[in-house]
Amino acid sequence: MYKVKVFVTLRESVLDPQGTVVKNSLHSMNYSEVSDVRIGKYMELTVEKSDRPVEEAVKEMCERLLANVVIEDYRFEIEEAVAQ
């Protein structure tokens, strides 16, 4: 069994209006050292072992559903987990 952590964020080239608002709030709180904020999504998947390599399966899930690659980037981390 695997624990997969998927991170989805807006692509660099796409303006992130939520991130901009949060950055402005941080600036108004005097955290002037913050130069950029990007807001994204975090998903945790529990994936059973199968014949198919887990990396390949997760990549396909990201491309087809979890991220919209027109405007979003994704990355994921895979950990092998011991069944409880």
């Binding site: 807006l10 209006p17 939520q18 608002v21 559903l65 979890l66 919209n68 027109v70 405007i71």
Partner: protein
């Protein structure tokens, strides 16, 4: 001409859409549930607005995998007119029937009011009853109508005259190039954020949306009615 109004769990403009084509336009219309197996008996497909599947993950991302969407893709390939309004537009984008994607409105606010649209292209099956450059009043109601596509796609949209409606002068949501509605390359799939089905009766504030539905019927008649 017979229209299908596709109903997803969470659609909420399906009744307005049905009313527009059935009562105001005078065409045949039926509700079709998202798990329908076939759309063969329908001449036009309407994807209404709302919040299909609660807008979970992204607007339209889940609806795009519902059973009926395979049939919608088939109908698009067959050249049938397909109109997606608001959430319907978002579903068409997620399904890849139209290029680009929607971001949240740049104000981060849900906007619900009537806006001015400019008819950029009146040579499509959805806009032929309008005049070129005509300014019309249609309501918008969305939180994610901020259209985006990459530069190459934008060039293609322009080169093929695929931009049908733009927001006139005032851009409500940050949409690229004021884009409010686009068609596919073949010209039979239109997606738009504004709601023409909510502007079909002067009594309710305006009837500028009716011409869009009249355009669809006009094209269908020209293609299907045999002259004696």
């Amino acid at each position: 001409m017979k229209f299908a109004v596709i109903v997803f769990p969470g659609s909420n403009c399906d009744i307005d859409m049905y009313h527009a084509v059935k009562d105001e336009l005078g065409a045949e219309a039926e509700y079709v549930w998202h798990d329908a197996e076939s759309l063969d008996e329908y001449d036009g497909i309407l994807l209404p607005g709302g919040f299909s599947y609660g807008d979970y993950l992204r607007s339209g991302a889940v609806a795009r995998f519902s059973n009926v969407m395979k049939e919608v893709i088939k109908a698009a390939e067959a050249g049938k007119p397909i109109l997606g309004v608001c959430n319907g537009f978002q579903i068409l984008l997620e399904a890849g029937l139209l290029p680009g994607a929607m971001r949240r409105n740049d104000s981060l606010k849900f906007i619900c009011r009537t806006v001015e649209l400019k008819v950029e292209n009146n040579e499509t099956m959805f806009s032929s009853v309008y005049g070129k450059g005509e300014v019309i009043h249609i309501p918008i109601a969305h939180g994610e109508g901020n259209y985006y596509c990459d530069e190459a796609t934008l060039e293609t949209l322009k080169a093929n005259n695929q931009i049908v409606f733009t927001y006139n002068e005032t851009n409500p949501n940050g949409s690229l190039e004021n884009i409010a509605g686009i068609v596919n390359e073949k010209g039979n799939v239109l997606g738009m954020m504004p709601h023409p089905e909510r502007a079909v009766d002067e009594l309710l504030g305006g009837a500028d949306g009716l011409k869009l539905f009249q355009s669809i019927v006009k094209q269908w008649r020209e293609a299907h009615v045999v002259k004696l």
